[in-house]
Amino acid sequence: FHKIHRVHDKLYVGLSGLATDCLTLASQFTEHCNLFSLRENRDITPKMFSKLAASMLYEKRFGPYFAVPLIAGIDAAGTPHIASMDCIGALTTTDNFLCAGTASETLRGACEAYWEPDMEPARLADVALSCLRAGMDRDALSGWGAEVIIITPRGVTAKRAEARQD
């Protein structure tokens, strides 16, 4: 089950939470961003997209989507951005790492330990997979494997890892 959805070549969003709301949000994000690129003849930037996602979620403030998006992308200048929010759109942007999902607390600890600034893409992928494995192994509701998407100015690669099948 893929939880990372492509918005455009340099922008991906991971969605965790209630599966039906994740699928609904994924198609709504794609719809809005496709319309944006048709109107403005350029791809939406990560910063703009995070604000869009936050306001879409806040629109449902009193009947929310039970999904938490985690947005990652590279803008036109080549700067990477990540952003996350809660299920009603309280936006956080950082320059190091963000975690979402049932194992988010465990992941945060693992990321804090392994993350360093200015890592190469290959190293970043390995670090991300190690953090995911560490977080997932201790969480009953997560597991069955991990997937990492690495977005670079040159292109996008995906990596999969096996994990405990329980």
């Binding site: 039906t20 699928l23 609904t24 198609s27 009947g63």
Partner: protein
């Protein structure tokens, strides 16, 4: 809304170029079996079907809604929708109804895609008749040519609108018993005899271990030729 645990079992599995769906034939109201020859698998068009169960009333209501909307789409646009599109349609209807008037239905949707160059599959039958009668001049609408082998697809869609494409699935209490069995015995690319053998194992498992086991299952196989139906008794 609470999860309505209906006593219905629906099993689906994908084979080489077909999809098998089996559903039990009982309609129960509390401890009484009201009817034991009910067909829970609705055909959506010539090569697609869905096993639909849930709170009494909703399966028929939602099932017919989907069936008729698909027929309308086919009549309006003269195109055979691929399975993925139909599954998305079903999911979107369930998800958008979720926060107003949720349907309590769980669906196992299966079908076979026939990817072909000209998507005028609905007109395919008419074209072959016309070209038989006409003089040897190229008919204006070419007959559909199949560019790739038929692709069977199976989707599990639950009452919230969560959808996932699966190689096999079981719905209801049957899932508790059968995911293990299917994990072990299902393999990709099975022909029809092998698929029926796996299905027979599943029914045997239910008969042996499930307290409320149904005696008979209505089984349907969707392939490019169409949907064939038969009744299978659990051994």
């Amino acid at each position: 809304p609470g999860i309505f645990r209906s006593m219905d079992s629906v099993i689906g599995l994908v084979g080489k170029d077909y999809v098998l769906i089996a559903a039990d034939r009982n309609v129960a109201h509390s401890i009484v079996v009201v009817r034991s020859d009910f067909d829970k698998i609705m055909p959506l068009d010539a090569t697609k079907m869905m096993g639909i169960t849930g709170e009494p009333g909703d399966p028929v209501q939602f099932g017919e809604y989907v069936q008729k909307n698909l027929k309308l789409h086919q009549l309006t646009y003269d195109v055979d929708l691929p399975c993925q599109a139909v599954a998305s349609f079903i999911r979107t209807e369930l998800a958008s109804a979720l926060r107003q008037r949720p349907y309590q239905v769980n669906i196992v949707f299966g079908g076979v895609d026939r990817p072909h160059k000209d998507l005028g599959a609905a007109a395919g039958a008419d074209v072959s008749v016309a070209s038989a009668e006409s003089t040897p001049v190229a008919s204006p609408v070419p007959a559909p040519e199949y560019v790739s082998p038929p692709r069977p697809m199976l989707y599990h869609i639950d009452y919230l609108g969560s959808m996932v494409e699966v190689p096999f699935t079981a719905q209801g209490y049957a899932g508790h018993f059968l995911f293990g069995t299917l994990d072990k015995y299902w393999k990709p690319g099975m022909n029809l005899e092998e698929g029926k053998a796996v299905l027979a194992r599943c029914l045997h498992e239910l008969k042996t271990r499930f307290l409320l086991q149904p005696t008979e299952f209505c089984c349907k196989c969707a392939s490019v030729e169409g949907i064939s139906t038969w009744i299978e008794a659990a051994q």
